[in-house]
């Protein structure tokens, strides 16, 4: 039987339907899910998908922000406003508090990327979360290209890439023993461009730093870093003003901006479609540590 053309869906509809399916599976099968919400574009899209998956009911789980203490004020403001609008419960896992209590120690280079992991794991244990929605995508990074939609973590939060559960059809195995957990990545099959097309289609508001603006920056390792209280200019570095935007939003001490005139979502889509450098390659100091920097962090329990 030949299907009429009307029974076709666009790739964005197919991706949306898959992500909604995954979120509903988690809520139906797991005891205490939580959504990792950083105020970054991927977690914002996840939140929209969660709204859609359970409408007209409320989103049936809390959100958690692993707060390194190095935040962009625009992003923190967005986080609090969005959480209030949706009536969500926000759990903040705070790196500064963990530093004060001695759970973690500041690393020599001052980057807080790696020390987020124990803070995240402590919060998971304290709240007994058994499923954590993360906004990671497989197109982002090569270690993530091998991630499952449902990624099993042992009681230490560790990922074992050589020992993953096969994932067939849409049959996701979220079974686990007490203390173990599942990281769930509903955006696994989305690319950066898909995310931006969806933001445009759904008219999703983002923190302003995703769009072009003028900012005082320094150039370091070939990337543009905003000068702020967490990232002072080093001796010999020249501070200058540039038209920039952020392609990713992470810890303010290791996330760089890119030169850009894209001040609307349509212009960002054009820019992303034309760019020849990956978003993490262009903007993340934390991934430049080594070839396997992401895998090593993920093994320890990182997102």
């Amino acid at each position: 039987m030949t299907a009429p053309a009307a029974y076709q869906v666009t790739h964005l509809d197919a991706l949306e339907a898959e992500s909604i399916f995954v979120m509903r599976e988690v809520v139906a099968e797991m005891e205490r899910p939580v959504l990792l919400f950083s105020g970054g574009k991927d977690s914002i899209v996840m939140l929209r998908l969660a709204q859609k998956a359970f409408a007209p009911a409320h989103i049936p789980f809390p959100v958690m922000h692993v707060d390194t203490g190095h935040n962009f004020p625009e992003v923190l403001e967005y986080r609090d406003r969005r959480v209030a609008e949706l009536g969500l419960h926000l759990v903040v896992a705070s790196v500064p508090e963990a530093l004060a209590s001695g759970l973690v120690r500041e690393s020599a280079d001052g980057m807080r990327n790696r020390i987020q992991t124990p803070v995240l794991l402590e919060a998971v244990e304290k709240h007994r979360f058994d499923a954590l929605f993360g906004g990671a995508r497989r197109d982002e990074e090569k270690a993530r290209a091998k991630e499952r939609m449902f990624s099993f973590r042992d009681e230490f939060g560790q990922w074992d890439p050589k020992n993953q559960r096969p994932e067939l059809w849409a049959l996701y195995n979220g079974r686990h023993h007490p203390g173990e957990s599942i990281r769930v990545f509903p955006l696994s099959n989305w690319t950066e461009l898909d995310v931006w097309h969806y933001i445009a289609r759904e008219r999703i508001e983002l923190p302003s730093i995703y769009y072009a603006h003028e900012r005082e920056v320094v150039e370091r390792d070939g990337m543009l870093y905003a000068v702020n209280e967490f990232l002072p200019a080093r001796a010999g570095e020249e501070r200058f003003k540039a038209q920039v935007r952020y392609r990713t939003v992470g810890d303010a001490s290791c996330t760089a901006a890119v030169r850009s005139d894209a001040d609307t979502v349509e212009k960002v889509i054009e820019e992303v479609a034309a760019t020849r450098i990956t978003e993490r390659g262009a903007t993340r100091g934390d991934d430049r540590v080594s070839e396997a920097a992401m895998e090593d962090r993920k093994r320890e329990g990182y997102f």
Partner: protein, 443 residues
């Protein structure tokens, strides 16, 4: 939160439909699995598809080139693009299915790239389970090898609707029509013994770019399309089953709110068929009948729902329905069955499947436990010989198994419905996924 507080404007508001392809056609999505070993030039082919569609980024390429050079590779080893795990780089092997993405103005593509050697069957079955199309590579100099036949068999077992055989390295056989046709004929004859609904054979050179994006001038005798042209245009819309209404209930939405009262919606993804308001439906396993009141999404009600849409169905009657139940039509229902005959691919390296073994089953949104009542035969996937004396299935072995389940499954034959015909087997002690099943018969 209510529907109103979602996107400003819903479907009627003419929301932007996303990227549009040629003639304003919206892009759709094609998932394909690739099979072959490094020697067949699979990585080169994928690298070329990514590169030529501008989906390969300069920093990725530079990183791969640097690692290749440091290892003393003679050429840029594009396998390193996704063989990103430490163990893979150290041992020069691919461990697991890697997913890669590219798009053209017509289509978005998801590649499930399955490694050729290690855990071959397990990975290939996993990659093929969701694929619309499978791409098998052979080296024109070597012709069909055992592995090519194995790939073709697994694709037919998993009911991948479209198969493409790429005869690669045509540049190394002087672009010989004779060599190509001999391989194509041999493969076509083999595929005829299998259940392969659609087969296309393309002569290519991934390294030189012949017949990848554009038709090659080196093979004027070849009248078919270039590979990318075929991938962009292969008709997948009618692969979906739009006849048998199957809606496995995932989750019951009941808002606990003073603003929305008496709401009860059944959330799920349409497995097959078309659901419309007013349709008479039957709910399994209870057998109660009702009518569809409405089919809803967060963007508002829709006139009909079909695969792969995720929707919420509301019925006109109050019936007790929970997760794992299935909505179908009274005159077209799946079997409600506890005795299941299935082809099973075993995926556990630690313990084999044995008659008498007890396992957990996940089938659509339904959970059950099962006992293995019988193993009819183990299939040699190279010769298709059936070994009826086999007493167990080990890792990467496939056999026909009889199961008895604790609760009825709402099941169709896998060849008729990949969603309601497939299940996974889970070890209850370790919680690992240890097998994949394709239902042959359910009673």
């Amino acid at each position: 939160m209510t529907i109103e507080t979602l996107a400003p404007g819903g479907a009627e508001d003419g929301r932007l439909s996303g990227p549009a392809g040629p003639e304003g056609r919206p892009m759709d999505l094609l998932r394909f699995a690739t099979a072959g070993s490094v020697d067949d030039g699979k990585s080169t082919l994928i690298g070329r598809l990514l590169y030529d569609t501008k989906s390969l980024f300069t920093d990725q390429l530079a990183a791969v080139e640097a690692v290749s050079a440091a290892r003393g590779d003679e050429y840029t080893n594009l396998a390193l693009l996704t063989d990103g795990l430490r163990a893979e780089r150290e041992q020069g092997i691919t461990i697991d299915v890697a997913y890669r993405y590219f798009a053209t103005p017509r289509r978005k593509f998801i590649i499930a790239d399955t490694p050729g050697h290690i855990q071959y069957t397990r990975n290939m079955v996993t990659g093929a389970s969701t694929a619309d199309l499978a791409l098998i590579l052979v080296d024109a100099r070597k012709g069909l090898v055992e592995q090519s036949r194995r790939h073709a068999f697994l694709c037919s077992l998993l009911r991948v609707p479209h198969l493409v055989l790429c005869v690669n390295k045509m540049d190394l056989v002087d672009y010989s029509q004779e060599v190509f046709e001999q391989i194509a004929d041999e493969f076509t004859a083999f595929a005829a013994k299998l259940d392969v609904p659609d087969l296309t054979v393309v002569p290519i050179s991934a390294l030189k770019g012949d017949n990848i994006v554009t038709r090659s001038e080196n093979m004027p005798w070849y009248e078919g399309p270039a590979l990318l042209h075929h991938l962009e245009r292969v008709h997948i819309a009618s692969d979906r089953n739009l006849v048998d209404v199957r809606f496995p209930v995932q989750y019951v939405i009941r808002p606990q709110s003073t603003r929305v009262t008496d709401y009860r919606g059944y959330a799920g993804q349409v497995a097959s068929g078309v659901l419309k308001p007013g349709d008479e439906v039957m709910v399994l396993p209870s057998g109660f009948t009702s009518r569809i009141h409405s089919v809803e999404t967060a963007d508002g009600p829709v006139a009909e729902a079909f695969p792969p849409m995720s929707v919420t169905v509301r019925l006109t009657d109050e019936i007790d329905i929970s997760r794992g139940d299935l909505i179908c039509r009274p005159n077209n229902a799946p079997a409600v069955a506890q005795d299941i005959e299935a082809m099973v691919c075993w995926m556990d390296e630690t313990r084999p499947l044995q008659v008498g073994g007890r396992y957990a089953i996940k089938h659509t949104t339904r959970a059950a436990r099962a006992i293995v009542r019988g193993l009819h035969y183990r299939l040699d996937i190279n010769t298709l010989h059936r070994d009826e004396s086999a007493g167990e299935l080990r890792l990467n072995e496939i056999g026909r198994v009889r199961l008895r389940t604790t609760v009825p499954l709402l099941a169709d034959e896998y060849r008729r419905n990949r969603t309601t015909g497939g299940f996974v087997i889970i070890d209850e002690a370790t919680n690992r996924t240890v097998g994949a099943g394709m239902i042959v018969e359910a009673a």
